[in-house]
Symmetry: C2
């Protein structure tokens, strides 16, 4: 019988698609094996275990996401860049819920350091904030604030956290506006 031709790369891509369709928590080696017409045991020659697959998926999705954000932010500055970043972030979370969930798992610090994804993400994010003229440690504080709000909003949205009748897109725009004012009136020590 001909081989299925499984590889780590194809496995990760299949996992990404499955995650978006069935939810990240339902990504199983068994289900992926079925999709490839192969037994689950066979996959262990491509991937050490489920944990490793999840980690690879997280890095894959993280790279995909930051690429889109980078494209959106390119050539913009200040509020324009902030809005573009925010829009691309939420757009990815919406269109790829399973992959987005994957990006949020805890990853072995050693693996993170190896991957260029985190460095790139930091570059883009800090770069976007350049126009606001913040210095460390305010810069890191601001990055944390933005990431928190963006992630929190998408996470709450995804689990049905917003049930007031108010339009969620409008609230999002307002949140981005509010973050912009927070950045322009950043609380300094000398207040």
């Amino acid at each position: 019988m001909a081989r299925a031709g499984v590889s780590v790369e194809r496995l990760v891509v299949a996992a990404a698609e499955l995650a978006d369709e069935a939810g990240f928590e339902n990504v199983s080696l068994s289900a992926l094996a079925r999709g490839f017409g192969v037994t689950d045991a066979s996959l262990y020659s491509h991937v050490r275990n489920l944990r490793e697959l999840r980690t690879r998926l997280a890095l894959f999705a993280g790279g995909e996401m930051i690429d889109r954000i980078a494209t959106a932010v390119a050539g913009r500055a200040g509020k324009d860049a902030l809005a573009a970043f925010a829009g691309a972030y939420r757009e990815y979370a919406h269109s790829h819920p399973g992959r987005y969930a994957a990006t949020r798992i805890r990853i072995d610090q050693a693996l993170v350091a190896d991957s260029p994804v985190m460095r790139r993400t930091a570059e883009i994010t800090y770069g976007m904030l350049r126009a606001y003229g913040l210095d460390e440690p305010d810069l890191t504080d601001a990055v944390r604030l933005l990431r928190s709000t963006f992630h929190g909003y998408c996470a709450l949205e995804a689990t049905g956290g917003f049930n007031a009748p108010r339009d969620v897109d409008a609230s999002w725009d307002k949140a981005v506006d509010a973050l912009h004012t927070a950045l322009t009136h950043w609380p300094r020590e000398d207040r």
Copy 2:
């Protein structure tokens, strides 16, 4: 043999403790049954299924959390109230990571409506914002912004999302400060 004396209430409390120790995703009926010295099948006379247990845990934890927040906020207004709310929120997420994770699952809308937890949470949150003088829909937008940032920060923190050397408590305080300025300079339509 004497009975173990399992009840829904004891089950939920045990689940809460297990969640904090082993993580929310590791709360299983099997593990709880072991803890009670009972077979897993026995638990199905107390709880319909794992889903229901999780939902009950979520409502339990949500009630516990909003109680602490309410106590912290009581008698305060404006920035004071905001800081107290934020502090109590993060304190709960830190001291009860498993329970906190439980509060963030998607819950059947019908069950939510039955429970007073959500109403109480809304009351406290909107009440805390009273001093900022916002009207709808800005009020809802502001609530969503706060919840997003609070949750996002705690979630990122919990999964090791902040690895810069900067102290996470200091960043949190800055974030709360920044939210305060965002609320006091809330972006109106007429800008």
